[in-house]
């Protein structure tokens, strides 16, 4: 009896099955199923490149706008004996847990304009299409989304995309770019940016299923609704023009993503990694977007830590702010003015001093997150051992907008595969994507090449 009750009463699914049988025939279906299952099992074994029972590796990509004052950012010496530069002082306590990477470059951002053509491809490394709307493209899938494609089967959420500000409205008719380029670093495909969540409460609810799958009656209702609208979209699609069909595909993919989420929570199959903390132990943030920027950032970073800790997802991206953000940073001592304004320091010492302080505030937030990750035990070490937190900007000096010598930090130990505690100085415009390939290695994603990469920046794993 009980077993029968588990079979969902879903008329349209049954009809769907009948349809499949008619079109495809059962033998194919069987082989498709077994192939899927085999692939899944195999993937489960090799997902993290570590033996079963070892904690998985998580990756985050944290973007901050408007670059840095390079002279205060770049440490003088390279290698293990380097001394922290003035801007990097906040890393003192976690120096051994962080790689400082300098000399990395994004060659496809040297044309275009000051900002937009550099932000949209921060994680794709490919050329951004100059457009005010038509044929929007970041040149490629972003590295976080590529990782998410591979890790999504193990966690309730494929990835998290976080931010603090709504998408920038309007187009910049002078430089010929839509401003939405400055609001997205995560791209599911070259032509499809992933919307970011700026409301902490909603992030929390997503993490713990409150939005779609926490209660069985609601899950059941949602699944019926989604079945219905999938059928709507399926019928509608062939009646649309080609461009419109692409838009309908985005919708279809989103519906399927939510369905998968619900399925995941209903599966109750043993996870390949059992997180150390139960969600019930956490308290949800207050509703609404915090008025204080500092609080907003702190909560978002905490949520990211929580997501990793609970293995709700293994991939995340976050934008401290949209590009060209004019946020007033006078809350930092010694600063009076806005971020973008001060990043155009005109080589004026007084402004540079303030710009540096803003840079340093950003590093403090990153250092704080490192400490938090380090304070959480996991396996025989800490959560930080199993994380790779990239922190960087898409331009170097905010006054010149150059996309070379990018400020990049990589925190965590990537499953104890990173030689942290060094300053790795690259010479001769080494692609930032070389680093991404090395990160993909550590996430168990096998690629020869990514974006404009030419080699692997870090030693291969194992």
């Amino acid at each position: 009896m009980k077993v029968q009750n588990l079979i969902p009463q879903r008329p349209s699914r049954r009809r769907m099955l009948r349809g499949c049988g008619a079109i495809l025939g059962l033998p194919w279906m069987e082989s498709a199923i077994s192939r899927t299952l085999r692939a899944e099992d195999k993937a489960a074994e090799s997902a993290t490149g570590v033996p079963a029972g070892r904690p998985p590796v998580r990756s985050a990509f944290i973007y901050f706008p408007n670059g840095v004052w390079e002279k205060s950012w770049t440490p003088e010496k390279s290698g293990r004996d380097y001394e922290l530069s003035p801007t990097l002082q906040p890393l003192a306590e976690v120096k051994d847990d962080v790689l400082v990477l300098t000399g990395l470059d994004k060659k496809h951002s040297h044309g275009g304009d000051g900002h937009y053509a550099k932000t949209a491809n921060f994680l794709t490394g490919m050329p951004v299409t100059k457009t005010t709307g038509k044929n929007i493209s970041s040149g490629g899938i972003s590295v976080d989304q590529l990782m998410a494609q591979h890790t999504s089967q193990f966690t309730p959420l494929p990835s998290l995309e976080l931010g603090t500000e709504p998408v920038i409205s309007g187009i910049d008719s002078n430089v010929g770019y839509t401003r939405l380029y400055g609001s997205h670093v995560s791209w599911q495909s070259p032509t499809r940016p992933v919307a970011k969540e700026i409301n902490p409460r909603l992030v929390y609810e997503r993490l713990f299923g409150r939005r779609v799958s926490d209660d069985p009656a609601r899950s059941e209702s949602y699944r019926n609704l989604l079945d219905f609208v999938l059928e709507d979209a399926r019928q509608l699609r062939p009646r649309l023009g080609r461009d419109d069909q692409f838009k309908m595909d985005e919708y279809l993919d989103s519906v399927r993503a939510v369905e998968k989420r619900i399925e995941f929570s209903l599966q109750q199959k043993p996870r390949d990694w059992q997180p150390s903390v139960a969600q019930a132990e956490t308290t949800p943030p207050r509703p609404g977007v915090p008025a204080d920027f500092r609080e907003h950032i702190a909560i978002m970073l905490d949520l990211m830590v929580l997501a990793f800790q609970t293995d709700s997802t293994r991939v995340a991206s976050m934008m401290f702010a949209n590009d060209v953000s004019g946020r007033n940073f006078s809350f930092v001592e010694g600063v009076s003015g806005s971020h973008h304004e001060l990043s155009h320091h005109e080589n004026n010492q007084a402004k540079i001093a303030q710009y540096e302080r803003i840079n340093r505030w950003h590093v403090e937030q990153f250092a704080g997150m490192m400490k938090k990750l380090k304070s959480i035990p996991e396996g025989d070490g800490t959560l930080l051992d199993n994380c790779m937190i990239l922190f960087g900007s898409s331009i170097s000096d905010g006054n010149r907008h150059d996309p070379d010598n990018l400020p990049v930090l990589l925190g965590g130990h990537g499953g104890r595969t990173l030689q942290s505690g060094q300053h790795l100085q690259s010479k001769g415009n080494v692609p930032l994507c070389d680093l991404y390939v090395s990160m993909l290695d550590r996430m168990g994603v096998e690629v020869e090449q990514f974006g404009d990469s030419t080699k692997r920046l870090l030693d291969p794993v194992g």
Binding site: L6, Q9, P11, L17, I23, L24, A32, T36, L37, T132, G133, I136, V167, S169, I171, S173, N174, T178, R179, L180, S183, Q188, P193, V194, A195, K196, L202, V212, S221, N224, L225, L226, F228, V229, A233, L236, R237, P238, R239, L240, G241, R242, D243, D244, E250, Y251, L252, S254, A257, E263, L266, Q267, Q268, N328, S330, G337, S338, E341, H344, N347
Partner: protein, 706 residues
């Protein structure tokens, strides 16, 4: 060819709707011949125009322009090196209009470089003015050009704003600020109505699901508090029939009542009649719920939620008809476009009925509907959606003046400032005011609090109202407090940003970004120490490469220096008296906002052109192309014939060809849906996983049995 005839008919016979069919047949052939004859003459004119470029203009260009405007050392965006002969110059076409404008305003060549003599200027302007007119309006529907409409206006999803308004109008329950779907970017002419720039992510769908769930549960609760009239009204509006089980005197069974309620709701939400198959499938959701012994209301709620998550609600669906070519939209599609344009929402019952009866296809009816819709409070959306995007104020809540310098800048003031902008733009349309009010109205819309901020005499508790301003300090978009705040830095005003804002958003000019490696302002060296901002900007403008833009921008901004960083009036800054004088390269000089606005009014033609472009781009949801120029010209002509009254502009856009027509491609071009197998495979994968999970559970159960 039918489409072509139809277009000629449409263009030439709009005023004679009854005769249009006959007229189309009658004039189609002769007009075609006319076009051919004209084409030959046109060729000759173009040849002579090219020749005159090579003989007269090219020497001027080479002597005065290419020094800065060529190849890799190019300054600004214009490369004269690309026009070494008549053919390349002719190909550049409209670009010369921009060059002419800059020369006319004495902005080019910039101060500090050798200028043009009066004779050279004259030659140049005569040449540009003699450019053979291509009369694009006549080309609008030719076989070659109809492809302009291909895919330009797409079946896009509703924007965040449209979705919010549509939920409000169809369910009767507003969204809470905390539950809105993610924000949208923009494309085309700078608006979020452009389908190319609207994407759908997973968090959108989660949001749509959660909202549909919440609002339908709130609208149709199982038990209703008897004394809550507002809630009862919402409920009664949705429950157009009650079954016997709830209302003994009713003659409807549960499922009959459900069918009617669901069909009515879906028609409103999907803004079209609902097909039998769709009704059937919606009823299946109802029955699936009653099958689990859920009550009538609980079961009705399920299909209503589905209606709100369906692509038929979330997308502006303009399906392809069987015919191809340029085809007029269906009555329901026109009703939807009208509602999105004026209300940023979906059609109401009256619009749907006008579509049912097809009267909405008549020009007169469209004019009537436009006026009715503008009189409806929902037309506030023209201010809130179009207006804020045009003025660059969409992100106004992200503007944070410095709390230490401006402790009085609180959330109430910020929202009053935003509200003023919304109300002002909406007011111009709702009251059918001339468009020139937007530049130089002699009134402001304020409430008591904002009046206090503006030093206008009004009791503090006063509601929103129009107050006339005699001194011309305020009135018009340039002196909106929100604009003045958004174009300031957190701790100081910026004449540069304000000037640039006026040039771009009011006059429709473009100001290129500063060339790389040019210092933005002189460094604070010994020679510049102690200078005021104005003096430093003056120094900056002495360089030719800076002057070309800053001569245009900075003076406009200086005219607004009497307004501080949050839009208050001031006579002094840091103890220094405000110098509000400005002089433009054209020779126009002024002091303060009132005179500045007079200068802007002299350039009112540029403003109107820009404004029409913006509104048309918003309405069409795409970037405008050269074929839209004739629509804009027709609109401008109508405006000047009607004292620039704003409603006529909305009417003309609503009646315009690209608003009402769409290019549909031939079915043979439409690709096979490539993802069908992917869809099936995904489903199979899910089923397989589920089967696997069930099997494991079953095994576990089996094992647990003793």
């Amino acid at each position: 060819m039918n489409a072509t005839f139809d277009l000629f008919a449409r263009r030439y016979c709009r005023r004679l709707p009854i005769l249009s069919l006959f007229a189309a047949i009658g004039i189609a052939v002769p007009s075609g011949m006319f076009v051919n004859v004209q084409a030959d003459e046109h060729e000759k004119k173009v040849e002579s125009w090219k020749k005159s470029y090579e003989e007269k203009i090219l020497p001027i260009v080479e002597a005065r322009c290419v020094q800065c405007h060529r190849g890799d050392k190019i300054e600004g965006e214009f490369d004269f090196g690309k026009f070494p002969n008549g053919q390349t110059a002719a190909d550049a076409g409209d670009a010369w209009e921009r060059v002419a404008k800059r020369i006319r305003l004495n902005e080019m060549p910039p101060q500090g470089s050798p200028g043009l003599s009066d004779e050279q200027k004259g030659q140049f302007h005569r040449w540009v003015d003699s450019r053979p007119n291509q009369d694009l309006c006549k080309q609008l529907a030719s076989e070659e050009t109809q492809s302009w409409y291909r895919g330009f206006v797409m079946s896009r999803r509703l924007t965040q704003t449209e979705y919010r308004n549509a939920i409000r109008d169809v369910v009767g329950i507003p969204l809470q600020p905390d539950e809105e779907p993610p924000s949208d970017g923009a494309g085309g002419e700078g608006f979020d109505t452009v389908g190319d720039a609207l994407f759908t992510s997973t968090i959108h769908l989660e949001s749509y699901l959660a909202i549909a769930d919440r609002v339908i549960e709130d609208a149709l609760p199982d038990t209703q508090a008897a004394d809550d009239n507002a809630k009862a009204a919402i409920r009664n509006r949705l429950l157009i029939v009650l079954p016997k089980s709830l209302q003994p005197e009713s003659s409807s069974s549960d499922s009959e009542a459900a069918a009617e309620i669901i069909a009515q709701f879906a028609r409103r939400a999907w803004r079209r009649p609902v097909t039998d198959d769709e009704k059937l499938r919606l009823m299946q959701l109802y029955e699936a719920s009653t099958g689990r012994r859920r009550g009538f209301l609980a079961s009705v709620r399920e299909p209503l939620k589905a209606v709100l998550v369906s692509p038929h609600f979330l997308f502006v669906v303009e399906t392809e008809p069987d015919a191809t070519g340029v085809i007029r939209l269906t009555p329901y599609q026109i009703a939807t476009r009208l509602a999105l344009f004026i209300w940023s929402s979906i059609p109401d019952e009256e619009l749907l009925q006008a579509a049912d009866s097809q009267v909405i296809l008549n020009d007169d009816q469209i004019r009537l509907q436009v006026r009715r819709m503008l009189a409806d409070p929902k037309s506030r959306a023209l201010g809130e959606n179009f207006g804020l995007q045009w003025l660059g104020l969409r992100g106004f809540s992200e503007v944070h003046p410095d709390g230490e310098l401006f402790p009085e800048y609180a959330e109430t003031l910020a929202s009053d400032l935003r509200e003023e902008a919304v109300r002002f733009v909406a007011h111009v349309f709702q009251q059918n005011r001339p468009l020139t009010d937007l530049v130089a109205a002699d009134y402001v819309l304020v409430n008591g609090r904002l009046a206090q901020h503006y030093q206008i005499d009004l009791p503090a508790e006063s509601p929103w109202q129009a107050v006339s301003v005699a001194d011309g300090r305020r009135g018009g978009v340039v002196t909106l407090g929100s604009v003045l705040t958004a174009t300031s830095y957190p701790r100081r005003t910026s004449p540069v940003l304000r000037g640039r804002w006026i040039l771009e958003e009011v006059l429709g000019s473009t100001v290129p970004a500063p060339p790389p490696n040019v210092p933005a302002l002189e460094e604070n060296t010994a020679s510049t120490a102690g200078l005021t901002l104005r003096q430093r900007l003056d120094l900056h403008r002495q360089k030719a490469e800076c002057a070309s833009c800053h001569d245009r921008m900075d003076p406009l901004g200086f005219g607004l220096e009497n307004f501080d960083g949050i839009g208050r009036w001031r006579e002094t800054d840091n103890g220094q008296p405000i110098d509000n004088a400005g002089k433009l390269p054209s020779g126009d000089s002024f002091s303060g906002p009132n005179e500045l606005k007079s200068v802007l009014m002299k350039r009112s033609g540029e403003f109107q052109q820009h404004f029409v472009r913006k509104l048309l781009g918003f309405a069409l949801g795409r970037e405008l192309n050269k074929f839209d120029q004739c629509i804009m010209e027709a609109c401008l002509k109508k405006l000047s014939e009607n004292e620039f009254k704003s409603q006529i502009l909305i009417e003309e856009i609503a009646l315009s060809y690209p608003f009402q027509y769409r290019y549909h491609k031939q079915p043979t071009e439409a690709p096979e849906p490539p993802t069908t197998s992917q869809v099936l495979f995904d489903r199979l994968e899910q089923i397989a996983r589920k089967a696997n999970a069930l099997k494991k559970q079953a095994d576990a159960l089996q094992e647990s049995k003793p």
